[in-house]
């Protein structure tokens, strides 16, 4: 495809992307200018000073490193579990037949309507009664459990295009349902699985509401950085630093793993003989 990449396409996408970046440029500039310069707007040139003050303040006042590791742990485990369990579940829903299949699917899809704030209070009481407050499991269970509401549908949608010949072939070879999943379906579904992984990582990395209420001693980055904001001080320079620091890692993950999307097409082309 690259040989045919038309220039106008690249230019068009480029222009839209650059316009899209305006608010992000704003955040970056707000983080490196003193607050009095950006109060009337970060684009104003009235007093133009650049300073790394906000960056230094955030670094020295807040224990970023421990929070960073906590976030890596929680987001990492949650993403791993979701990437492991979702394809299996989606496979079962799409390729297998069992009682209650459709009702369960309806329930799972509708679960996505539940806003987080409705979920946290009952869970809070449950964790408190089980003594799990401030335990990493108290956030991992909802992170993974809530992800199924959208992830199963996502992977299942991709299965709709899955070449049936491969399934037929594996059956002929005597593979049972689990085996078909392990050896035929899963290896050819890396694309949606990585999509689920990237999204889950992003959402669990950025998660604020759940860890804010469930974790006390070891807190992740977003909760730590939420403490920068105080209602009566509009310290947007530091808040911008917080936003950039928090967003950097998922972006990196996206960059590294988005290659997996292209991987799908290579293996797929092998199916048509």
């Amino acid at each position: 495809m690259t040989a045919r990449a038309p220039l106008w396409v690249i230019v068009l996408v480029g222009i839209v992307a650059c316009i899209w970046m305006v608010p992000i440029v704003g955040i970056i500039i707000t983080s490196i200018r003193p607050p009095e310069g950006t109060m009337l707007g970060w684009w104003r040139m009235d007093h133009f000073d650049l300073t790394l003050d906000a960056w230094r303040k955030v670094w020295s006042k807040y224990p970023l490193a421990p929070a960073f590791w906590v976030t890596v742990k929680t987001a990492g485990i949650a993403t791993f579990l979701t990437m492991l369990l979702t394809p299996a579940a989606a496979y079962a829903f799409h390729f297998l037949e069992f009682r209650f299949r459709r009702i369960m699917l309806v329930i799972i899809i509708n679960a996505f309507v539940l806003p987080q704030q409705v979920v946290i209070i009952p869970l809070f009481r449950l964790w408190r009664d089980m003594g799990l407050i401030d335990n990493i499991a108290s956030v991992l269970v909802p992170y993974v459990g809530l992800s199924f509401a959208w992830s199963i549908y996502l992977v299942k949608s991709f299965f709709e295009d899955f070449p049936k010949e491969l399934i037929e072939a594996s059956k002929i070879d005597g593979c049972g349902p689990v085996g078909t999943f392990r050896f035929v379906v899963l290896p050819n579904s890396l694309s949606p699985v990585f999509a689920v992984g990237i999204l889950q990582f992003l959402w669990t990395w950025n998660a604020l509401l759940l860890p804010m209420l469930f974790l006390r001693s070891e807190i992740p980055l977003p909760v730590l950085l939420a403490r920068i904001s105080s209602s009566y001080e509009m310290n947007w320079d530091m808040r911008s630093v917080a936003a950039i620091v928090t967003a950097a890692v998922p972006l990196l993950v996206f960059m590294i793993f988005q290659r997996q999307f292209a991987a799908g097409s290579q293996t797929r082309s092998g199916a048509k003989e």
Binding site: M39, R128, A226, R227, I228, S229, S230, Y232, E233
Partner: protein, 435 residues
């Protein structure tokens, strides 16, 4: 499975009351032997951030210097905007703390009703805090004549801020003392190029400030207190008069179009006055002082000043709306002695001066007033000479506050008499259901 909601609360209340009774007895007995008894861990629930947190940390450090056997453990509550949900969840979740800061009288009532707070009347007598705090501060922290909170800082909410060079530009030498003077200088400012001199931040809550002080000036502290407790209806003529006075500012064209007001938060409104030099007056709390100094880099008293809300001549000109922060102690805390010692420490000169140095006002009689900046001096003096009433919005129960603010927004959109009636009727409807 989680226990039934009703029985859970009942159980808690019984436990708290039992514990509270026992603790009260032992506390009174133990108070006399102060310093050597005060030791152990003191758990503090903290929700402050930014420079306010720095000041609280300074207070804690000084306290530990005085009582070295105490170790302070902070339980941090994070939140966005309103901190109460986070605090509720922490307290509901069985987090055991000894003390925390409260700034909402309505929340104090909620906590007291749920049995979470321990009254401090006995401590007040035993430590003789009346020597260092005027009785009005005790009243501010009380509920139905029972004292729960010790006020450690307060803020004048009836002070109007302005920039000195604007006044010079318009040829205004003295700040207005009466309402008529206030409205009279408007045309002068408009001629000097300020199209709408008053910045009203109508986006969230700050537009209510004007109404609240106007209510105090037209009807006095008792009426405002009665309204806060819903002993008089919102459709009362006194309330209507206050809104009508507010309306004159809007219809007079001094505030700008409604869409502008509704799109502006207090910080944007302050920027309008102090940075963009497009407006002249903003009625907002004392935290603007820190912003003016740190963010706008202006000099207190030289570049900007504050004058108390003009008098209406209706007999209540010695009233002010104030906000305050108080420390409250819990009924199930594990170290009540240390908690009481901390409260006592807050009234001393050391603590008062830490607070004053941070740019805030301390109610303690032992504070070194020379630490206050010029603006702070004006505000503190005004409050000292007034009958005070807590900010009305913070007295109202949860869902009524919201309705109150939204209806006032509707008022800003249409300040006509007919609409005032509609707005007040709507608030009254909601009030009936909220108390």
């Amino acid at each position: 499975m989680a226990a039934d909601v009703t029985s859970m609360f009942e159980m808690r209340r019984r436990t708290f009351l039992a514990g509270a009774g026992g603790l009260a007895l032992s506390t009174v007995a133990g108070v006399s032997r102060a310093a050597d008894e005060v030791s152990g861990e003191l758990a503090v629930l903290n929700w402050a951030g930014g420079t306010e947190l720095d000041m609280l940390h300074n207070l804690q450090k000084a306290f530990v210097a005085k009582y070295p056997k105490v170790i302070i453990r902070e339980v941090n509550v994070t939140g966005q905007g309103d901190m109460r949900p986070g605090m509720r969840t922490a307290l509901m979740g069985g987090e055991k703390v000894d003390l925390f800061v409260n700034t909402w009288p309505a929340f104090r009532k909620e906590l007291a009703d749920a049995g979470i707070l321990r009254p401090i009347d006995d401590q007040w007598k035993a430590y003789d805090w009346d020597k260092r705090l005027a009785p009005s501060w005790r009243d501010l922290g009380s509920l139905n004549k029972v004292t729960y909170g010790l006020t450690y800082t307060f803020g004048d909410r009836s002070g109007i801020w302005f920039k000195k060079d604007h006044m010079a530009k318009a040829g205004i030498a003295d700040m207005p003392k009466t309402w008529d003077e206030f409205t009279a200088i408007m045309p002068k400012l408009q001629k000097a190029g300020f199209a709408a001199p008053i910045a009203v931040p109508g986006k969230y809550w700050a537009h209510a400030e004007w109404f609240e002080t106007l209510l105090l000036r037209t009807a006095g502290v008792e009426v405002s207190a009665k309204l806060g407790a819903h002993q008089i209806p919102w459709t009362d003529p006194a309330v209507k008069t206050a809104l009508q006075k507010y309306a004159t500012l809007i219809t007079g064209g001094f505030c700008g179009p409604a869409a502008d007001m509704l799109a502006t938060e207090w910080d944007a409104a302050a920027d309008q006055v102090f940075q963009a030099n497009a407006k002249n007056f903003i009625l907002i709390g004392m935290w603007l002082n820190a912003r003016a100094k740190d963010d706008y880099k202006l000099s207190e008293g030289k570049d900007y000043g504050l004058f108390q809300f003009p008098g209406l001549g209706m007999g209540h000109d010695d009233t002010s709306s104030v906000d305050s922060k108080e420390y409250v102690v819990t009924a199930n805390g594990e170290n009540p002695k240390a908690a009481d010692a901390f409260l006592d420490f807050l009234t001393t000169a050391d603590a008062a001066n830490i607070i004053a140095k941070a740019g805030l006002a301390s109610p303690s009689k032992e504070v070194d007033a020379s630490l206050y900046g010029d603006v702070q001096k004006v505000a503190t003096a005004a409050v000292a000479n007034s009958k005070v009433q807590f900010v009305l919005g913070d007295l109202l129960p949860g869902d009524l506050v919201d309705e109150y603010r939204v209806q006032l927004q509707k008022f800003l959109q249409d300040p006509s008499d007919a609409n005032i009636d509609k707005v007040l009727a709507a608030i009254e409807e909601k009030a009936k259901a909220s108390y």
